[in-house]
C-alpha cells in the first residue's frame, strides 16, 4: 500500500510518499503507526506523539482503530490548519 506524509510529519520523516508492505499482524492505523515508528529515528520522531497524528484512508478521515485492510492509500498528517 501507498503511504503519504504531510506538513511536519513529512518534514520529520524526510519523504512525502512511499510504498510499504507491513506484516499481517499490523491491522489498524494505530498498529501501522507503531510499526512505522520502529523503522528508524526519523519515523520515531515524526510519530513521537501518536495522539496528535491524524490519518486518512483513501481520502477519508479515519480514527486510530480503523482497519487498514484493503486500503490503497494511507496518509498521516498533523491537525489541519486550512481555511
Amino acid at each position: 500500500m501507498k503511504v503519504k506524509y504531510f506538513a511536519w510529519v513529512r518534514e520529520r520523516i524526510g519523504i512525502s510518499e512511499e510504498t510499504i508492505e507491513p506484516p499481517e499482524a499490523v491491522r489498524t492505523v494505530d498498529d501501522l503507526i507503531g510499526w512505522l515508528s520502529r523503522r528508524g529515528e526519523t519515523y520515531a520522531y515524526a510519530f513521537e506523539k501518536p495522539k496528535v497524528i491524524r490519518a486518512a484512508i483513501d481520502h477519508t478521515h479515519v480514527k486510530p482503530d480503523a482497519t487498514i485492510a484493503g486500503a490503497r492509500e494511507i496518509a498521516f498528517f498533523p491537525p489541519m490548519t486550512g481555511g
Partner: protein, 155 residues
Amino acid sequence: MTTIATIRIQEADFDIAREIAELTKGRRDVGAVVTFTGICRGEENGEPIAALTLEHYPGMAEAEIGRHTDEAMSRWPLTGLAVVHRVGRIAPGENIVLVLAASQHRQAAFQAAEFLMDYLKANAPFWKREESQKGTSWIEARGHDDAAAARWTKS
C-alpha cells in the same frame, strides 16, 4: 433550477466579483449571496510574519470539500456554492480562501457559508507554515476551530 457547486484549489488569486457573477448570471431566483474571504494577516500572536506557505493533500482536499458542499446543499435551500482555496506562498494582505453561498433568502446563505468555513478550518487537509524573522514554523491547530465545527454535528 440546479444548484451549482464549484470547488477549486489553485495557486492563483481569485476574483470575488467574477465568482459571484458565475453563480448568479442568467438566474432570477437568487436573492442573497454571502461571501467569506480569508486573508493572510501581517502578524500571528503579536509576531510579524513575512508570508504563509500552504500545503494540501491533492485528491483528498477536493473530496473532503466536496463532501461538505454536498452536505450544505442537503441542509439548506441553496442556489449555488463555491469554495476556492489557494495553496503555495501567500504574503500578508493576500487572499487565502473564498467561500460563497447563494440562496433565495439570507439565512440559508449565511448558515451555509459559516458551516463550510468551520469545516474547512477543522477538517480540510491543508496546512499552513509561517515565515517570520525567527525562521519558519508550522501553525498549530486551534482547539476552538474543532469546537466551531462540532456545533454543526446533528445529534
